[in-house]
């Protein structure tokens, strides 16, 4: 990084007031801050550029650099705090449950230094995959939520707004009703059906939103919500006409979400998709930021908004589909985590996405700990807990927003 002590290396060096004038500006307040004095009337004379284009004084870089350092420090602190919280949530989740495992044994099992014991099996084979799946799904939903909120320029967007979870439910219920897969139903056929249903929903929404023009935010929302309703109705129709009450139980699992089916061999796909998807979306941070300022401005700044939105919608939907296939539609994490992350580090996606991901992971791991232990031995669907805790938190955040700011 080069020090901003000189004019930029290429292009027009912007002229500016001396540093001293800049320093005093905040004192003037917004309403009265006058721009440089000028005489509008004799504007007929061409007035190309300002007479003097002073080289940026070294002193002027001081405040900007200090602010940059302060911003980075804040970001590092937030990420560090979340990592600590995630570690605590993971260790807590491994230790607590129907059988209490002393924290020392948890760490011994994790580091591989424990002799084979019942604790080791519980920690490594039962709880760890579930905890990791919670972290992966929480992070994935949070990243997708943040991205979709930028894509449709609406803070109420979440991963399930655009029909993906409805498609997953339809696919899963279809597998149940048709009895495909036999004994494999719950372990493989159901997630596969959910994934297929999600992809079908994705294709439907894509086709509808893209048809006859560029994919704008409102078109995407309308297509997503319409497909969502149609697929939900279809799911209910399937359940009712099949007349098998036990299917309702399974369907409830898909619509509320749960991590109970986590196993080592079903963890790899969501984890890989999370890493890959988040990596790509992080690389797209700048165009995502451009969308935050509106399509017209983003286009004028060189972004093909229609194509970009379509591509990111597909990517975000694929990530969602894989997460939902693994855990059902866990609500609120994808809505809440991005909001909280924005409050902590602001809207630019380069900072927002990692913080949202960590926040989502912490939230879902902690919520699943509650789901396992609060009504033990009964598993509460984790989506119930995320909604119960996330709802009030959302309202609190909403009340904290600055006056006049939209959601």
């Amino acid at each position: 990084m080069t020090a901003p002590t000189q004019g930029p290396a290429s292009g027009p060096p912007p002229t500016h007031e001396p540093a001293s004038a800049r320093e005093s500006a905040p004192a003037r307040g917004p309403a009265s801050a006058p721009p440089p004095a000028h005489e509008p009337a004799p504007a007929r004379e061409p007035a190309p550029a300002q007479e003097s284009a002073p080289v940026r004084e070294p002193a002027a870089a001081g405040p900007a650099r200090r602010r940059a350092v302060a911003g980075r420090l804040r970001y590092v602190l937030v990420v560090g705090g979340l990592l600590v919280a995630l570690g605590a949530a993971v260790v807590g989740s491994l230790a607590l449950g129907s059988v209490r495992v002393p924290p020392g044994d948890v760490l011994a099992a994790l580091t591989g230094r424990a002799a084979p014991s019942p604790y080791r099996t519980i920690v490594l084979d039962v709880r760890l995959p579930r905890v990791l799946l919670g972290a992966v799904v929480g992070a994935g939903l949070a990243v997708v939520g943040a991205v979709l909120q930028a894509l449709v320029r609406n803070r109420l967007a979440d991963p399930f707004l655009l029909g993906i979870s409805s498609g997953a439910s339809t696919g899963a219920v279809l597998v149940l009703v048709l009895g495909v897969g036999g004994g494999l139903t719950t372990t493989l056929a159901l997630p596969a059906g959910a994934l297929a249903g999600s992809l079908l929903a994705l294709a439907l929404v894509y086709g509808l939103a893209r048809r006859g023009g560029a994919m704008t935010g409102p078109r995407l929302v309308l297509a997503g919500v319409a497909v969502s309703y149609i697929l939900s109705a279809l799911t209910t129709l399937l359940l009712v006409t099949a007349g098998r009450p036990e299917h309702f139980q399974e369907a409830l699992y898909w619509s509320l979400g749960g991590l109970g089916s986590a196993r080592w061999d079903t963890l790899a796909l969501p984890a890989a998709v999370l890493l890959l998807g988040t990596g790509v979306l992080l690389a797209l941070a700048r165009p995502l930021d451009l969308l935050l300022t509106g399509d017209e401005g983003a286009t004028a700044l060189g972004l093909d908004t229609g194509r970009f939105r379509a591509a990111v919608f597909v990517l975000a939907s694929l990530v969602t589909a894989v997460m939902v296939a693994a855990s059902g539609a866990v609500g609120f994490v994808g809505l809440m985590a991005p909001h909280a992350a924005r409050l902590a580090v602001g809207a630019p996606h380069r900072r927002l996405l990692p913080v949202a991901a960590l926040g989502g992971a912490v939230a879902l791991v902690a919520a699943d700990l509650g789901a396992r232990t609060l009504a033990a031995p009964q598993d509460i669907p984790v989506g119930v807990l995320t909604a119960l805790t996330g709802g009030p938190l959302f309202l609190w955040l909403m009340r904290r927003r600055p006056e006049g700011a939209a959601l």
Binding site: P4, P8, G11, A21, P48, A61, A283, L284, E296, A405
Partner: protein, 266 residues
């Protein structure tokens, strides 16, 4: 290195659907050129074709001899900047972050903002008189401040041509004068749509008049702003007199005898 390089703009037979039917105009390097005309005459459509959010269905837009339609969006954005009429920017974006996005056409999409980008943003904010507000969140700005922040974003784009659609909309008279005076100090070729004929006369080197998707006339404000033209295009009776102190043509409107009806001079 001196100020922004300036290049000539030439629009030839520009058309878009039935809203723009073969518009011609030119702007010499560094010139401030105004577009006036009644609502629905095609001003915004023309401007959107120029900054690239609408495809032209006929005609060409040449900037220094290059057909803008042949440029990739990003290449075009390096040469043409605009102050759009977008909804408010994201509430969690600071003013500096908003302005620094103007560097996007000069960067690969995965690149973040460097210290140099942020310094440019700060310098541009200083130039539009918002130096003290760089760390504020966008929604806390007033309408005039937001417009100037968007001008700053266009500035860091380093354009040859600046396109402004109604840059004085919703601003009080002080800020209207400020924004237009600012545009004139930039040294870029500027093309702006204006409703206020007196502001157009005071700040534009030349004015083109659009009516029903066609350019009906163009020239210096004194040549264009005549009672006959105002009557023909707007259906309004007006006197035009030189400003007592600046000599700029100044339009004085006569209210219609019956509100809402065109006068007999039509």
């Amino acid at each position: 290195m001196t100020g922004p390089s300036a290049t000539g703009l030439s629009i030839e037979g520009l058309g878009h659907a039935d809203r723009l039917r073969g518009a011609h105009l030119t702007a010499r390097p560094g010139e401030t050129v105004g577009l006036i005309g009644p609502n629905g005459s095609g001003k915004t459509t023309l401007l959107r074709c120029v900054y690239g959010t609408l495809p032209a269905t006929s005609g060409r837009i040449l900037l220094d001899g290059t057909d803008l339609a042949r440029l990739a969006p990003r290449d075009r954005a390096r040469r043409v900047a605009t102050v759009p009429q977008d909804p408010d920017p994201d509430p969690d974006l600071t003013v500096r972050e908003l302005v620094a996005l103007g560097r996007s056409p000069h960067k690969r999409f995965w690149e973040g903002d460097t210290a140099e980008d942020l310094a440019r943003a700060d310098a541009a904010l200083d130039r539009v008189g918002l130096g003290g507000l760089a760390d504020r969140l966008c929604p806390t700005l007033s309408g005039g401040e937001r417009r100037r922040a968007l001008v700053a974003r266009a500035l860091v784009q380093g354009p040859e041509l600046l396109v402004l659609d109604e840059p004085t909309n919703h601003l009080d008279i002080r800020h209207q004068l400020d924004v237009l005076a600012l545009v004139r100090t930039l040294g870029t070729t500027s093309l702006l749509a204006l409703h206020d004929l007196n502001l157009a006369a005071a700040f534009c080197d030349r004015i083109y008049v659009l009516e029903a998707g066609r350019v009906v006339t163009g020239g210096t404000p004194a040549e264009v702003l005549t009672p006959a033209l105002i009557s023909a295009v707007y259906g309004v009776d007006a006197e035009v007199a030189p400003h007592p102190r600046t000599g700029v043509p100044t339009v004085l409107y006569l209210p219609s005898p019956v509100p809402g009806q065109k006068t007999s001079t039509m």
